[in-house]
């Protein structure tokens, strides 16, 4: 077994965890146990997992509302994320945020953010601190293709480029901004063209193969860490589910979806690579069974946890002791 196959196995496990976690979350949503908006990451798992493999635990990550994959890849427990979706006191943010607002300071997850583009200037700020303190932390900022049109994107890149901040903007181009295909939100076919205007480096690659994502991300991360400045990375990917659970997805054909599922399923691809490289089927099944147990345990834990607490309502409006 080659070295990279050895590394692929845990990455496959995390991708499979995200996949099964979200399938169960979708089920719970249809049973009314989860409310609000639920944006699934299914189909895009290789991006968060490959990116995670390219950074250190001490680096920072910030993302949009499509945030379950990122949090799980960082190491937030399935229990704490599922409980959050269920709106329980044991959730990552005690039931205050739900699906769109996962924060986990311990794992340096600085939030799921629900206003498109809002996280980009924040990411510049997180990277600004590293420069200010002369530390070597890198910030990863995930965003969608649709987000490249809003002011926050342009101002965030503008500042990051100007001050050569150690941040990598990871644009997950899943070809749609809600129900609108890319060619109706921008005249560009290549989103990395937007990097040049702000003095950022850029890279663009296919995001279905987790090892490719890791290797290409490493280059951008090392550039940031070594003072080479920020990068805009465009990762070509695809979401297999609707924009959120309330989206019937009438804007794309069943053939297109099936095509991507057949040729570009990151979990299936990694599994195949592992088998080809000689990992035994039994080993993979055992690993999958382990994930299954972990996910079902998370669901049970979430169901059995105490509801969000009334005291959380006022407790976090102001920080410190001077508030009322």
């Amino acid at each position: 077994m080659g070295n990279s196959q050895h590394e692929l196995q845990p990455m496959y496990r995390t991708m499979y965890l995200i996949r099964r976690f979200e399938e169960e979350a979708a089920r719970a949503y249809s049973l009314g146990k989860i409310g609000g908006f639920l944006h699934l990451y299914i189909g895009q798992e290789a991006v968060a997992v490959g990116a995670e493999a390219a950074i250190e635990k001490t680096d920072y990550v910030i993302t949009s509302y499509r945030d379950h994959g990122v949090a799980l890849a960082r190491g937030s427990s399935a229990r704490s994320v599922m409980s959050e979706l269920f709106g329980k006191d044991t959730g990552l943010v005690r039931g205050l945020g739900g699906s769109m607002h996962l924060f986990d300071a311990e794992h340096r997850v600085l939030g799921g953010h629900a206003i498109v583009g809002g996280q980009l200037p924040l990411a510049a700020g997180v990277a600004f601190r590293a420069r200010y303190m002369q530390e070597r932390d890198v910030t990863l900022c995930f965003l969608g293709d649709g987000a490249t049109n809003i002011g926050g994107f342009h101002e965030g890149l503008s500042l990051a480029g100007l001050w050569k901040l150690p941040v990598v903007f990871v644009c997950e181009n899943n070809r749609y901004s809600m129900g609108t295909p890319l060619n109706r939100t921008t005249p560009l076919a290549d989103l990395t063209l937007k990097a040049a205007g702000y003095g950022l480096a850029s890279d663009r690659f296919d995001g279905h193969d987790v090892l490719t994502v890791r290797d290409r991300m490493r280059a951008a991360v090392e550039r940031a860490r070594d003072g080479g400045g920020p990068t805009l990375v465009e990762v070509l990917t695809y979401r297999f589910r609707g924009h959120s659970m309330s989206d019937p997805g009438k804007y794309r054909t069943a053939e297109e979806l099936e095509d991507f599922k057949r040729t570009a399923d990151p979990c299936a691809l990694a599994r195949k690579q592992l088998l080809t490289s000689g990992v035994a089927e039994e080993l993979l099944s055992a690993l999958e069974q382990e994930v299954e147990t972990e996910v079902m345990d998370a669901v049970r834990f979430a169901e059995e946890s105490a509801p969000a607490s009334r005291s959380s309502l006022d407790a976090f409006v102001y920080a410190g002791s001077s508030g009322h």
Binding site: G35, L96, G97, G98, H101, A114, G117, G179
Partner: protein
Amino acid sequence: MSEEMERDDRVFVIGEEVGYYQGAYKVTQGLLERFGERRVVDAPIAEAGFAGLAVGAAMVGLRPIVEFMTWNFSLVAFDQIVNNAAKMHQMSAGQLRVPVVFRGPNASARQVAAQHSHAVEPFYCNVPGLRVVYPSTPRDAKGLLKTAIRDDSPVVFLEGETLYGLQGDVPEPEADELIPFGSAKLVREGHHVTVVSFGRPMPMLTKLADELEREGISLELIDARSLRPLDTATIVASVKKTNRCVVVHEHWPYGGPGAEIVDCVQREAFDYLDAPILRASNLDVPMPYALELENEVIVGPERVRAALRQVLYLD
């Protein structure tokens, strides 16, 4: 909207998912088929951009309707609305007009948490140069929207996200019924206490009024529906009759149109009041996700009942 687009070629709609997707909440359903891409414009996620574009187009004669997918997203376009739309007429000493309607669903929906649950009326009501309306029935929505589209000033048109499901009769196109700004609606006559509200709480209050009727308490219910200008005359006349007043609103309790109504009643009907004017509102916290907590935060019948008991000295 379609009636007004039929009537005036200068009227067009712009916003995210308003065309091919038929509107995120289906408000613009069928418009693209009927009026084409020239007049039903799908915009990318660039609220400051398309709100500003609408203001610019209006300065030179078009009459845009800007749909915000929800009013939460107007906050990234706040500068365009407050600094440009609201001020242009005054800054140009009347040379330019900005007949834009900004519309979309407002306030909390269901468990969409802190960044997606803003009741924005206090932000916009504070700004001279803007008109702000907030209908709670299909008929009022239609009549006020027609007025808004034909008005020569920028209008903030708030729709209750949870009110979209309400059904009700609306006048036929031929009726061309316009509801003027600055006219509150007396929804129900009563004599013990005046309740003033607007937007989402209205259906809840109508139901509550029925219940209280059976308990021997008679509410006079007023839907302010136009928040700027505000019809103080209708409200004050009612309080002079009932001598008591409770204001119910979904926005945060610090300031806003709720407080404005209280201020006007205490000034103009002070001698008629038998009790302090109270407000029942959402709690003063960012909206939480969990259902139990959200229900706790959003103003409901229990909080209104408590205020009513106090002004009626029933405790």
